[in-house]
Symmetry: C2
Amino acid sequence: MTFSPDHHYSQHKLLVERYLQSFVRESKPHSLYGPSKYVLRAGGKRIRPVVLLLACEAVGGDPREALHAAAGIEILHNFTLVHDDIMDHSPTRRGRPTVHTKWDHNVAILTGDALLALAYRALLRTRSSRIQDVTRLFTEGVVVVCEGQAFDKEFEERRRVHVNDYLMMIQKKTAKMLSVSAEIGGLIGTGDSAKLSALRSYGEALGRAFQVQDDLLDVVADEQMLGKRTGSDLVEGKKTFLLLEALRLAKGKDKATLQKVVNNGGVPRSRIAEYRRIYESSGAIASAERHVDQDLAAARAELERLPASGARMTLLWLTDKLARRTF
Amino acid sequence: MTFSPDHHYSQHKLLVERYLQSFVRESKPHSLYGPSKYVLRAGGKRIRPVVLLLACEAVGGDPREALHAAAGIEILHNFTLVHDDIMDHSPTRRGRPTVHTKWDHNVAILTGDALLALAYRALLRTRSSRIQDVTRLFTEGVVVVCEGQAFDKEFEERRRVHVNDYLMMIQKKTAKMLSVSAEIGGLIGTGDSAKLSALRSYGEALGRAFQVQDDLLDVVADEQMLGKRTGSDLVEGKKTFLLLEALRLAKGKDKATLQKVVNNGGVPRSRIAEYRRIYESSGAIASAERHVDQDLAAARAELERLPASGARMTLLWLTDKLARRTF
């Protein structure tokens, strides 16, 4: 039987899924544990915890020893989703009503808070001589994610945002947590500092690629494959990489047309095709693809610094899967 | 020069105050660090961190080694205040606009989140062989405080709440964090398990007394001394110890009058004197005083289990100060 990265990923995902299904056993107060279970048992790709487990394995550690931390990272991620959904007034997530929609704002605030504490509870079950470093890294991740979200909300209000501001923001909001996931896995697997550095940079590059790819998919993807309508970012007036890069590159009438997305806080769905053309002709799409390709190449190069192993193959497979834009 | 507990308390409070004044040095994103500094530099009694420092000292430890943890406990407390103020729609705190009033809801949600992460950042600077136990205890404190707040909000919506439900709720919302503060101080001071147990129980008893005393003060205090108008709990229809105990004890017409506070979500300020009389005649005030006295006696008894020291004297002084109802 040949090694299957797909199967390897699924096996690790299953470990995380099982952990999360049974992690919260309390039932009262209902207004806290009802929504907590609702969130943690909603499934998802579980990329961060699987990256953490694979990183542990890739430096020679036992991934089972990293399972508490992997669950902690996923619970932490869910805390950010619950609070971000309140702030963004999002009605649904993964096809289901968000917590503040199904319950109310207060319940969602408190559920998020409890999830953050539960994330630490899971993490702190880790048996590792490096637990203080692990917990510190995790904590710096939380601080930076909060900074990223604050910048994101500030940029919504600002008329002028440079594409470099955007890249700084996604570094904090998305890339940091993937970087922390990989590095924590490496720490628990007792990797040396060169391997930790490779894992940290791998996670960052993968996270950046992931976010810019997400912006690209909204414009160029097949709707069936994406599972939602394309062009939503434009309709909602989101300051994505594409919009900001197009604003930087375009001139004259095209630039004025792009500026309308910012000024009017979005465009009618009927005009999306026009914007897609400007994204294309301005070179914004090519630039986004270049960014993604460079980051994925950087991610692959970091993996080369780790010893060959099944875990490394699966991390590489995950990177390539992202490059094929199907994840 | 004789030992002055008052001075001792002030000295420890000053250490905490200085730490908090300079702890947050970041300035961007402004929407995150502006309100964070606003909250942490607003002063306050700083009871929890001072109890933590004194507990460390009381078991023979160096309180300076517990300063990071003390600051962490106070930052954590401030996280709960910021989020509770959103949930309770409170316009002011310590005489200043609350974060969601001065900024907005989203800023307040995110500031609270960041404060919780910053609390862990401070805590994790502690150098102690028991850091994992310390962090676990801290985390259990956060979970329990969230549970307490969830019960508190659930009780607001419920018609029937028994006084024992209330006592369970304040155990989680108020007493637990004082208990955790005292025990963490003891852990960092490397106290043995008997001393840790005494500190844990001391904190719990003090916390319970503190909350019931708070309910009492709203009805019986001198307004000048309290610094705010008395009777506010009745006007706001809060299910305090006094209201729930009076509902349990009163009969006939008095009981029906009390039930109006629940049914109407509060009473006009003009009728407060009438309620004060029912609280008195039903025996609710005597019961509250008995609860406070018993808890303070229990707190003093726990302190007796610690070796005699200046720190123990100051913890005793704090307990007596509460008994004299001036704190």
